[in-house]
Subunit: 216 residues, 2 copies
Amino acid sequence: MNFHAYNRPMATHNVIKVSFKEQMLQAREDAIIQAVNRLLAEKGFDAMTVDQVAADVGIAKASLYKHFPSKEDLACAAMVSVMRRAQAFLDTLPTDAPPMENLRTVVGWTMGLKLAGEMPALPSQNSKLRTTLMASKDYMDGLMDVSDRLGAWIEAAQAQGALNAKFPPIAVLYTLFARACDPVLEFLKMGELYSNEEIIALVLGTCFDGLSARPV
Amino acid sequence: MNFHAYNRPMATHNVIKVSFKEQMLQAREDAIIQAVNRLLAEKGFDAMTVDQVAADVGIAKASLYKHFPSKEDLACAAMVSVMRRAQAFLDTLPTDAPPMENLRTVVGWTMGLKLAGEMPALPSQNSKLRTTLMASKDYMDGLMDVSDRLGAWIEAAQAQGALNAKFPPIAVLYTLFARACDPVLEFLKMGELYSNEEIIALVLGTCFDGLSARPV
DNA sequence: GTCTATAGGAGGATAGAC
DNA sequence: GTCTATCCTCCTATAGAC
């Protein structure tokens, strides 16, 4: 009892202090991730330099390396972040809606992200980066969860006859992921002829309806 | 007359010699471009190093720079090369065929190129590279020619009602260019479930028919 | 025009004081 | 954990002999 009486205040004090510190730490790491996310979307992984990230956050480069051990881990953290956003968005979609509708909505949402400059772009060739991503449980878990949920909708949509059954579900899944980073989006944006909403509608149209004319 | 009698043999000798030298030069530059093309397709512009190109060709790096003034110019030459191949392929297509059919054939051909590892991949963000490309008359001329020919087919196909008229021709053109480098191709190739022909058929299907089921 | 050797600089990562 | 200053590696590009 004396033990508790003696220790509790000290322990409480420590708990509060640590929690506050951790809160600051988390806030700073969030700021870092946000900067990385922006830079990755703007210039891509190779063109992004750690110096730019540090300057953007307003801290020294060495401090950055106290939070993340490498440039690859920075990018990985950004990917985990968007994956979480995607999961959160999926949570908001009605489970009783037509699966095809949900698929369309998700892809449209990712296109909006890209047009807003919030979609980090990673080179698919970089093996060092791939290794880091594959080794990240947070990233892989998120990716698997998203893939599973989309996969379920894909199969359901095919069972309903809304999604063309001649395409293997895996090919559809890849296609949806690819359309989230479709370069057509930035091409059309650069042309400045269409609003973001129009661009999304166009690219969604080409993706789901196809280029060939459909019989009325 | 004496002038000719005296000079002709020497001139002929020079002509042959120069022509031979130029032939060797051209052959070497072709070898360089082929190596660049392969490396660009395999690793992309940033990951490709000039040392690798030199080693691949089997000459010293300094010799490379006698042929091409910069790494960007190397990539540009490779792009001009594929553009020429594309123009040559367009030449083989029947002018009396349905334009929609020709569009499909061209896109399928570019997909085959990519699957064969012969489609150079350039980052769309690199401004130094973009400047070099824009400044290259050979590249721009080729790009314009290809765009014009595809554009004519697109408009003709829309006039015929074969290509969905709700899409602006420019959006269709961008989409066709984008599908030539579609990452879905390499994803499916990595899965090793489908042959190259099947992959091309699949991605052509998603592109032209769309993901949504079509009424029978 | 080919080579060897090296300049020059960018950028990822770290040392060490505080 | 933050900073300044620096290391070190890699890579583009060039100098200079042949």
